[in-house]
Structure formats: structure tokens, C-alpha cells
């Protein structure tokens, strides 16, 4: 599987790269790296390890405080991304840098130095079709980008970089949004590109297995320093993860034994539309009992979001019923549901789960403002609110100078703790957790999972929606793989095999 390493010539080299942010945070500390043509060289690191800073420096978005960059052995300085692009560096962003309302072709041609004043779409089309043939890509050049899947959009970014003559491609979390099927195809195309003497540099936080499968070499960053360089064939997954985190990683959480109690939620033949007015959730039925975690495994965009929103009262039900504690709440408002003890952890933290411009106390208030205990004749009882906020914030270990700190100053993991501290204490029966660990580093992920298990221990029902199959398998009691808005099956955790669930959530099951 692995080819011999170090065969190609070095395209890009950095020496002694150092970046210190105002306030003294050392984001990169004396980093040396070398990227060779025809090689896949993965950079691993947790959130905050300095990956983003490194990427931004390589692409000319940021300038290093010290250190040199060499392209084909020549010392260069990037003042802007344009300089980097002109030096043959291409970047595939995690947050897509494409224009959704424009066609694929328009996105590829935009800003190209040889495009000409009046656009000649015919010529560009020929060139790009040629590129697609060379690398075995398939894509509709006239489709608007918003119509494309995440994988196709990634392809557009790659095509754009190649069309600009990129010799080295930096890929930010390339597989994080792909379906397993897409991932497979994507990895194949990476291989074919690396055979064409292009250097590939995937940056990865999670999803270690994929890196393992394709890379030739791995460099691990921790706290701005290179802590390990290793050829993939000499490495093990466990060792890589250890180097990333710097301590023994617990990949297994112990699931507490809890007796399953009475029925909390019963959903019957539920259907709902998505924002585009298409049926996104189709005839879903299931029940959640006390002390049970019901995990929904699936690739984003298969109706999970709609299901979560319907249950939280944010989206209209087309057909079907929702019964909560024996009551029909199909048409109940969000507020009624909150008062009944249904908690919702939204997938977006800043701006939905919490408000950046509000203090921690005011954020906590989002779950209290309708509670008689904290309101006195229409006025808020700030004394009580502050006491309560102090309590839950220390209970959930939110790290902040005080409860008057604005939430905007908190980091990702801390922000999610704040969301949990707001939602969980006010949830008595059912917790809906929508992508609760996406984008968090390993330590924060572990923390969130522990808290979900605690809810289960307390006898709540938990609906866990996740695109991380391992997470669902680890902490759920029942697992429902969702595909195109339907539950493919509902499995007991003990009988669920990873391969089977994986196949089910990608629609591959019926064929096997």
C-alpha cells in the first residue's frame, strides 16, 4: 500500500517558522517542514496545536514572525494568498471558499489571471474537462455550487487550484464532511493526483483512520511544536493519537448500567420538509425510554437536522405525531416544550446555543427567562439569576473570569460547556443533542460524552444525533442509522456492528 517515501523533489520547505500572537500566545514555535512532490504528507494536531496558523502562513494569509519559506529551493515571502497561488500553492478550505450562487465554471474561472476581460467560457470549459479527464473527476460544470454535495464542492476547490497550476495542495480536514462512499472516491483521486507529481498536505484533527489509509508521512503538531515525524508505515493509530494529545487517550468510555424505565417520547410516522420545501424526513417512528440514549447515525444532510428541529418545535410537522410523556405535543410551541423539560443542544454554538455579546449570566438566562422563580412581576430577579449562574457554571467547569464575561471570549470547548450548563440543569426528561461534539478537541469531546451519559444515569432520555459513527456506537443504547430521511433500521447497541451500521447510513445496505 505505502510507496517509498522521499522520492520526489522538495516543492515547499519551511525553516524555523515562528508565530506569536498579540498577548504572547506562541502559535508556532520553530517549525521545520518539507513537502515533496508525489507525496502525501499529513499534518496532525488537536485544535489549538497551531495547524490553522501554519496553514494560513503557507497560504499567505498570515505572515510569520520568524522563519523562512522556500519554494523549489528559492526563498519567498507571501504577502497575500495571491502570492501563494502564483507560486503554485493551492488550498482546499474546510469552510468552503466558494460562491454558492455561482456555477462551478464561474467559480473556477474567477480571478484567474488569464481569464481575459470578456469571459470565454467555451475555452475554460474545454480546459477543465481536460483536467477532469486527467485526474478522473466527474462534475457538472454548469451546476450551481449550492446544489452540489459537500464532496463535489471539495472537488471544485481542488479543480480551481489545479487550474491555477498548483503543484502543492493544502487540504484542511478533507474528509470531515464526506460520506464514506465519497471518502473512498476522494481518497482514490488523491492517490491519482499524487502519482501526477503533486504534493498533498492534508491537515487533520480527527478521523485518524483515513489519514492512515493514504498518507506516506505524518507530522504531528502539539502546542505549536513538531512533536513527531514518522513514516506512516512505521506508525500505529494509537501512537499517533497519543502524540497528538500528549497523554494516554481513552478511546472507550464505560457506559453505566442503568435500568431502562418508562416511555418518554414516542414518535409516530413523522415527516417534515427541509428549507427548500422538499420532504426531508420520511415516516420516522421510534420511542425513547427513561435512561436510554437513542443514537441517530448518519451523514449530515439526511434529515437529522429536520428531525431535531421538529422535536424541538422549531419546524412544522407534515404528517405524524409526537407523544411526550403520554401527551400529544405535535403542535406544541417551543416554549411549551421547554417548560415540559425538553432540552435542546443545537448544532451551532455561537449565535444559537449562546449569544456572543451577552454575558455568561445573560446566556444562562436564556433557559430561565420564562421560569416564575426568576421573574418578579415582569422584572428579572438578577440576584437569583446570578446565584444560579454561578452555580451551574462552576458545576459544568466553564472557565471564565466571571459570570459577567461575554461569551464571545470563550473558546470552542468552553462554549459548549456553557451551552450544556444552560440546557442540562433545566432539562428534566428529554435531551436532544444535535452534533454535540462536532469540531471539539478530544478532551472536550470526552467531557460532553460523559455529561450525556450522566443524563442517562439520572433517568433522562437522550436523543443523540451525530455524524461520528464511533460516538454513536460507544454511548448509545439504541442506534438508528438514517439515510435520505428514513431510519434504515433500529438496532440494539449490543447487536450493532460498525460495518453494518456504516453501510446502512450510506444507503449501501440493501445492495449487500
Amino acid at each position: 500500500m505505502h510507496r517509498e517515501v522521499g522520492r520526489g523533489e522538495a516543492i515547499l520547505e519551511v525553516r524555523g517558522l515562528t508565530k506569536i500572537y498579540p498577548g504572547g500566545v506562541v502559535a508556532l514555535d520553530n517549525v521545520d517542514l518539507e513537502f515533496k512532490s508525489g507525496e502525501i504528507h499529513a499534518i496532525l494536531g488537536e485544535n489549538g496545536a497551531g495547524k490553522t496558523t501554519l496553514m494560513n502562513i503557507l497560504f499567505g494569509v498570515l505572515q510569520p514572525d520568524r522563519g523562512e519559506i522556500y519554494v523549489h529551493g528559492r526563498k519567498v515571502r507571501f504577502r497575500s494568498p495571491l502570492d501563494a497561488i502564483n507560486m503554485g500553492i493551492g488550498m482546499v478550505h474546510q469552510q468552503r471558499k466558494l460562491i454558492p450562487a455561482h456555477t462551478v465554471l464561474e467559480n473556477i474561472i474567477l480571478g484567474h489571471p488569464e481569464a481575459g476581460k470578456i469571459l470565454d467560457f467555451k475555452k475554460v470549459r474545454r480546459d477543465i474537462e481536460e483536467l477532469c479527464r486527467k485526474y478522473g473527476f466527474k462534475i457538472d460544470l454548469d451546476a450551481r455550487v449550492w446544489q452540489l454535495s459537500a464532496g463535489e464542492q471539495q472537488l471544485v476547490e481542488i479543480l480551481r487550484a489545479l487550474y491555477r497550476g498548483a503543484k502543492i495542495l493544502i487540504l484542511d480536514e478533507p474528509t470531515s464532511v464526506l460520506t464514506p462512499l465519497e471518502t473512498e472516491a476522494f481518497l482514490t483521486s488523491l492517490k491519482s493526483m499524487s502519482r501526477q507529481e503533486i504534493a498533498l498536505v492534508p491537515f487533520v484533527t480527527h478521523k485518524l483512520p483515513e489519514v492512515f489509509a493514504i498518507s506516506d508521512r505524518v507530522t504531528i503538531l502539539r502546542r505549536g511544536k513538531v512533536v513527531k515525524r514518522i513514516e506512516t508505515k512505521d506508525a500505529t493509530m494509537k501512537a499517533l493519537a497519543e502524540h497528538m494529545v500528549g497523554k494516554e487517550v481513552l478511546f472507550v468510555l464505560s457506559k453505566p448500567k442503568v435500568s431502562i424505565g418508562g416511555e418518554i417520547l414516542k414518535v409516530e410516522n413523522l415527516s417534515a420538509m427541509n428549507d427548500k420545501g422538499l420532504l426531508a424526513l420520511k415516516n420516522v417512528s421510534f420511542t425513547i425510554r427513561e435512561g436510554e440514549i437513542f443514537g441517530i447515525a448518519g451523514v449530515s444532510g439526511n434529515g437529522q437536522q429536520e428531525l431535531a428541529e421538529v422535536l424541538a418545535g422549531l419546524r412544522r410537522v407534515e404528517t405524524g405525531r409526537i407523544i411526550f410523556m403520554g401527551r400529544d405535543i405535535t403542535n406544541a410551541s417551543v416554549l411549551e416544550r421547554l417548560k415540559m423539560g425538553i432540552g435542546y443542544i443545537p448544532s451551532e454554538r455561537l449565535g444559537v446555543g449562546v449569544i456572543g455579546g451577552f454575558s455568561l449570566a445573560e446566556n444562562i438566562l436564556m433557559s430561565l427567562y420564562f421560569d416564575k422563580e426568576f421573574v418578579n412581576r415582569g422584572l428579572l430577579n438578577y440576584k437569583k439569576i446570578r446565584e444560579y449562574a454561578e452555580k451551574v457554571i462552576s458545576e459544568f467547569e466553564v472557565v471564565a473570569p466571571s459570570i459577567n464575561t461575554k461569551a464571545a471570549y470563550l473558546s470552542g470547548g468552553n462554549l459548549q460547556r456553557l451551552v450544556l450548563s444552560r440546557v442540562i440543569p433545566k432539562t428534566s426528561k428529554l435531551l436532544i443533542a444535535n452534533l454535540p461534539t462536532t469540531g471539539l478537541d478530544i478532551a472536550a469531546t470526552e467531557y460532553v460524552r460523559k455529561r450525556l451519559l450522566e443524563c442517562k444515569e439520572k433517568g433522562m432520555g437522550v436523543l443523540l444525533i451525530s455524524d461520528d459513527l464511533d460516538e454513536v456506537l460507544q454511548i448509545s443504547d439504541k442506534i438508528a442509522p438514517i439515510y435520505e430521511g428514513r431510519f434504515v433500521s433500529i438496532l440494539q447497541a449490543e447487536e450493532a456492528q460498525k460495518e453494518v451500521v456504516g453501510a446502512m447510513m450510506t444507503g449501501a445496505y440493501s445492495e449487500r
Binding site: I99, P100, A101, H102, L110, G111, I118, L119, K276, G277
Partner: protein
């Protein structure tokens, strides 16, 4: 009947020139609610220039002052990241004060010598307006520059990594938008009215602003909107030229263009249109570009 139509087409000319400029800067992501103010400034500058130098300098100077304040808006909203509504309102309030101070002393009609040429009672500026619209349509849909403008209005971050100069593009569009608003103002005061009276735009700028929203940001739809509202505006001013015995009292009719605007806005804001509207609305409209 024809004199009435010719006058309506001249109102449409004002709306069209101003609105197509606003359309351009909105396509690049910059809202300019100061368009009424820019028109006022252009009207004042144009009128005064016409008094001293004649019509062609009037249009040029109207355009220049519009462009100058377009530049002010660009500096405030693009470089200084001031909220675009605040910046536009500030310019509008300033324009009201400045124009009162500057031009009200010249109140009254233009002297006989400065009469704009008319072809069958219609100013040739109408045809120039049509040409401007077609040119802007061509730039937006066929050229690389147009693609850059649209990309900057949709997603400046994506545009930047493709090598588009976001700030420069927004400056360009906002200045051109200002120039066109200034030109529209100069045409209003020198040709359509041919006289100066206190703050002569009377809400036309706001109608032009609304027209941009109606047009789904497409120049050719804008043309239709401008013609319709030109007709409504002129009808509200001189209904008797259409139908001598019109019974409604004048002020009631003057509300018509504004009521019509609300009606159209309500219709296009409905669920059915909204999706289409949301798709054509520049995604980054009104948002400053802040690199983190």
C-alpha cells in the same frame, strides 16, 4: 397624451440612472441608503453648474460630486466598517443640510439660455440611461470584472482567495453608484424640473432604492420597474394630463407611488417569491468585509 408619456419617461430616466448605480454597488455587497442624499448633492451641483456653464458641465459636475460622496460612503462602510445604513443615513442628513445651504440661494428657474435639448419633447438622456443599463448588464453578465463584482457581493472571503481585490472592487462599484446617483440628480434639477426648489428629490431616491430590491438585482427587470414607477410618479403629479376630470385631491394621488411601492414589496416578500428573492439577493449585502 404624448407630453405626459415623455414626462413619465423622464422620471423613469431619473429612477433608472440612480437605481442602476445602486444596483451595481449592491451587487458588490454595499447598500447605499444615502442615494436620496447623493441625488440631492448631484442635483444641487448640477443646477449651479448649469447656471454658470451650461448643461453638459452640469451633468459632469453632478456626476463628480455624486462620485465624491460615493467615495465617502465607500471609505466609511468599506474601510472604516461603519454600518452601511448608518453611513448612508449620515450622508443623507449631511446632504440635506449642505444642499439647503449651498443651493437654496439659487432658488428659481434656470435662465432661458440653459434649456435642455428635447427630441419630440423627450430628453435624449432617456436613451443614454438605456445605454447605461445595457452596459451595466453586459459588464455584470459577460465580463470578468462583472464576475468579480458579483463574487465580492456574494462571498468576499471566497473572492479574496481567488485573488479578487475585495476592497478595491467595492470602492469602484460604490463610486460608480454614487456618480450615477449624482447624474440622476443633475438631470432631475436641470432637465426634468428646470428649476431649483428646496430639497427637490421628494422621495424619488427612496423609490429608486426600492426598485433595486424589486428588480432581483437584474438590470433588465429594473428597466421595467423604472418605467412603471416613472409613469405612476408622473401621474401622481399631473393626473389632469391623462384624464381632465380626475376627482381625487392632489395629496392623495401623491401618496400613490409610495403605496404602490409598499404593495409591490409586500408581494415580492411573500413566501412564493421569497425563495427566488433570497437566491438572487447578494449573500454578503450590507456586511462589511472584515478579515480575521
Amino acid at each position: 397624451m404624448w407630453p405626459f408619456i415623455a414626462r413619465s419617461l423622464e422620471v423613469a430616466t431619473i429612477l433608472l440612472i440612480a437605481a442602476v448605480g445602486e444596483l451595481l454597488n449592491q451587487r458588490s455587497g454595499v447598500i447605499n441608503v444615502g442615494i436620496e442624499g447623493l441625488m440631492l448633492l448631484g442635483a444641487a451641483a448640477g443646477f449651479i453648474a448649469a447656471l454658470f456653464w451650461g448643461l453638459i458641465p452640469a451633468f459632469i459636475i453632478g456626476m463628480l460630486i455624486g462620485g465624491l460622496f460615493g467615495l465617502v460612503h465607500a471609505i466609511l462602510s468599506t474601510s472604516l466598517k461603519v454600518n452601511q445604513v448608518v453611513s448612508g443615513m449620515g450622508i443623507w442628513l449631511f446632504a440635506m443640510g449642505f444642499v439647503t445651504y449651498w443651493a437654496d440661494r439659487y432658488s428659481g428657474p434656470l435662465p432661458r439660455g440653459v434649456v435642455s435639448p428635447r427630441i419630440y419633447e423627450l430628453s435624449p438622456m432617456f436613451f443614454i440611461a438605456l445605454i447605461i443599463v445595457v452596459v451595466i448588464w453586459f459588464i455584470l453578465s459577460k465580463t470578468h470584472l462583472g464576475l468579480k463584482v458579483k463574487s465580492v457581493g456574494e462571498n468576499p472571503f471566497a473572492a479574496e482567495v481567488s485573488g479578487v481585490k475585495v476592497i478595491r472592487t467595492r470602492y469602484l462599484c460604490t463610486i460608480i453608484g454614487g456618480m450615477l446617483a449624482g447624474l440622476a440628480g443633475a438631470f432631475l434639477s436641470t432637465t426634468y424640473l428646470g428649476a431649483w426648489s428646496h430639497l427637490p428629490t421628494k422621495g424619488l431616491g427612496w423609490i429608486a432604492f426600492a426598485l433595486v430590491m424589486f428588480s432581483l438585482w437584474r438590470p433588465l427587470i429594473l428597466l421595467g420597474g423604472a418605467l412603471t414607477f416613472g409613469f405612476i410618479w408622473q401621474f401622481a403629479i399631473s393626473p389632469e394630463t391623462i384624464y381632465a376630470g380626475i376627482p381625487a385631491p392632489l395629496p392623495l394621488l401623491r401618496m400613490l407611488p409610495f403605496v404602490a411601492t409598499i404593495v409591490v414589496l409586500t408581494i415580492i416578500s411573500r413566501e412564493k417569491f421569497r425563495r427566488k428573492w433570497a437566491l438572487s439577493r447578494p449573500e454578503a449585502l450590507g456586511e462589511p468585509y472584515i478579515k480575521e
